[in-house]
Amino acid sequence: MQENKIILNNQPLELLNGNLSSLSSKLYEYIKLRKNAIEINAEGMHYRDLNYLIKSISKTPKKIILRNISGQRYIGTKLCENVIMEIYGTPGNDLGSFMDGAEITVNGNVQDGCGNTMNRGCIMIKGSAGDILGYSMRGGKIFVRDDVGYRVGIHMKEYKENRPCIVVGGTTGDFLGEYMAGGILVILGLNLEKEKIHNIKYVGTGMHGGVIYIHGEVTHTGKEVEMKSLDESDKILLKGLVMEYCKYFNIINSNEIIKREFSKLIPVSTRPYGDLYAY
């Protein structure tokens, strides 16, 4: 079989069993071996074939470069640690869903549902992200250089050392951090106009855990959150995240960003709906 000729870490590339792929006979046309990486040209490729290929390759950890990505969904689903992925183009919905430790860099924008129920790992987006970024994320980090859409960070939750984290360089859509049960959301507001107002509504509706740090004015929040100023531990946490953000996106004035004024949104109660019922 032709595909056996692709050697990864001294072992022939084995395709996963039980999956139907029209590509297996012409793998060479899509895969290129680089010195430290495997490159896949995903032009015109169906997401199922692409993800099948990625899953097969990621069994033998190596850097994976995806080129000409245009809207393929579910890239990096359940991808494990030791995999580093670089994406060129615009990945489709649900990038990195259920992801479990991989590191993905996107050179471009991402669509909706990125980091859905993500467990561990890191996604860096050199562009903007669509709606429902990090839905129910329970670990790992997502960095977005520019803006994000609606319903970002909904239902994020944390457990012990798993503390998910989303850092957004620009501004967001409505319903930020809705039903948030844990984790950290940072909105840097770098691209805000002079008035420094985020044009967003319903921030933190139903929030009962976690924290949102935001630079710029928020006028419309859910009744379940209160706004506080940052204490020392917040500042240390924020500084670390900002430095990381600046490192990933080659921004040199990290100190200037840290010095800006941030406010902190935290839930009023860990039990926002405790008094709804008559027992």
Partner: protein, 503 residues
């Protein structure tokens, strides 16, 4: 005005029989009984009694009887005690009235007005004690057609089949989340499912690591809160179910109160101890059939297309159209939960007023999928108040592939349907996470009882099938000629797709 109105029961104690052993005092989690040492007498505070029958069952001298109070208010058909007491309670608290289990109103049961057929003379019945009877059921998407290959006189299947669940008996344990029920209950369900060759549903609270070994018989649920959903959880289950709705509370979410989130629940649900586990009403990444398709395929990608994906909805007015959308979105199984579907906690007003009877939902969904030529693309699993094997067979004859049972399973292990699951103080140790009370369920005994129940039902099903002259459950599926209705209007008969008895 602040008087405790109680639950409408009073405890009668035969003092001659009472030996002051205090079992009732120790067993009651609602502090109904207490011992007055001065007078050497056990007194009961009736208003605390929920009529769970725990003390009655365990009293060694049968000294206790619990009686329902005759209406305390002037009798009124329209203004029943329930309505009056609810209003009084709400006037005091301003809250929504909570309840547990399924709708308890008399109007919505069609099973009792549907009758099964049997053969007489013209086609002989089959003796299930002598002849093999086939209950084997496969759940999952079936191909439109089969392609076969012949090579050297050997036949092989060319069509690639979709993943299937293999059920030895067309009954599965419905979703009971860990947190709503205790670990021992979850364990018993898992073990009974694995022993009986069927499946249990984890519910939306994740699966405790200790139970991962029963994963081959687990349907793992993914709901709006995504509690306990991680790669291991998806890997370990035999199928994944996306929970959109629940029969007891269509359209609304759920809150597991913080008090119930102890160390084990916290670890399994992956949330801090003591915080509310809130499942929002919709899954906020699913606002359309297209969005649903996205999650279905995300889960298929995550499981390498090796597991059937089920979508569970509450039976509501447009179930047929919704089910059609769900099938077209790529689901392998559609799970329908009727108005009688149970819950650990739901606002009573929603439990009793929202949704439609499962009988009508099965008939309309099955018919719609047939009319559209996509019935083979997904299996239908139904639930919501299945009380016996007769209900199971009627459901299958109406068009279901398999049924979910939960209340019946809980009754098998002790539940008396007192409807107080939401308090977390279940005296039978079922709907609780209290480590002391949950010990009341012995997983060994509970497993045995569940296995027995399934065995009894499966024998009954075989017996009825034999009587019909049918030896495979497959031949009853959607076979509405085996059903007749009594006391139903023409419109109801046509909605159910069955004839009047005698026709």
């Amino acid at each position: 005005m602040l008087k405790n109105y109680g639950n409408g029961y009073y405890v009668e104690r035969d003092d001659d029989r009472c030996i002051r052993c205090e079992v009732c005092i120790n067993q009651c989690t609602y502090d109904t009984h207490f011992f007055d040492s001065e007078d050497d007498v056990i007194i009961s505070q009736d208003e605390n009694c929920i009529n769970c029958q725990r003390c009655v069952s365990l009293c060694p001298t049968n000294a206790i009887t619990i009686r329902k109070k005759v209406s305390k208010y002037t009798e009124n058909f329209h203004w029943k005690d329930e309505s009056i007491l609810s209003i009084k309670k709400q006037a005091e608290t301003g809250g929504m009235i909570l309840t547990g289990m399924g709708c308890d109103k008399p109007e919505f049961t069609y099973w009792d007005r549907i009758l099964l057929n049997a053969s007489q003379v013209t086609n002989p019945s089959i003796d299930p004690l002598r002849e093999p009877m086939e209950l084997l059921t496969f759940l999952g998407s079936k191909p439109d057609n089969l392609e076969l290959e012949f090579e050297e006189n050997k036949m092989s299947l060319k069509t690639e089949l979709s993943p299937q669940l293999r059920l030895g008996i067309p009954i599965m344990f419905s979703a009971l989340s860990y947190g709503a029920v205790s670990y021992n209950v979850h364990q018993a369900l898992a073990r009974a499912a694995s022993e009986s060759g069927t499946y249990f549903n984890t519910g939306e609270g994740g699966l405790d690591r200790r139970l991962h070994k029963y994963g081959k018989n687990a349907i793992v649920q993914v709901a709006s809160g995504r509690f306990g959903v991680n790669p291991d959880y998806l890997d370990v289950g035999a199928a994944v179910e996306i929970k959109i709705g629940q029969g007891a509370k269509p359209g609304i979410g759920g809150h597991l109160p913080g008090e119930k989130v102890g160390p084990d629940i916290s670890r399994t649900r992956m949330i801090p101890e003591g915080t509310d586990a809130i499942s929002p009403a919709p899954q906020h990444d699913i606002y359309s059939i297209e969005d649903l398709r996205q999650l279905i395929y995300a889960l298929k990608e995550a499981t390498n297309y090796s597991k059937p994906i089920s979508v569970k909805i509450a039976a509501v007015h447009n179930s047929a159209a919704i089910a059609s959308g769900i099938v077209r979105a790529g689901a392998d199984i559609v799970a329908l939960d009727g108005v009688r579907g149970s819950t650990g906690a739901a606002p009573k007003i929603i439990r009793d007023n929202v949704g439609i009877p499962i009988e009508l939902a099965i008939a309309s969904v099955d018919q719609r999928l047939r009319d559209e030529g996509i019935r083979n693309k997904a299996s239908i699993v139904i639930g919501g108040g299945i009380r016996n094997s007769g209900d199971v067979l009627k459901a299958i004859a109406l068009g279901a592939d398999s049924v979910y049972i939960a209340t019946s399973a809980l009754i098998a292990i002790g539940c008396t349907v007192c409807q107080k699951c939401y308090t977390g103080k279940c005296p039978w140790g079922i709907a609780t996470t209290d480590p002391y009370i949950s010990k009341r369920i012995n997983p060994e005994i509970a497993t045995r009882r569940l296995v027995n129940l399934l065995k009894g039902w499966s024998n009954e099903i075989k017996e009825i099938m034999g009587g019909m002259g049918i030896n495979a459950i497959e031949s009853i599926r959607g076979n509405r000629l085996m059903l007749r209705g009594v006391g139903l209007s023409d419109r109801e008969l046509s909605a159910l797709g069955i004839k009047l008895a005698g026709e």
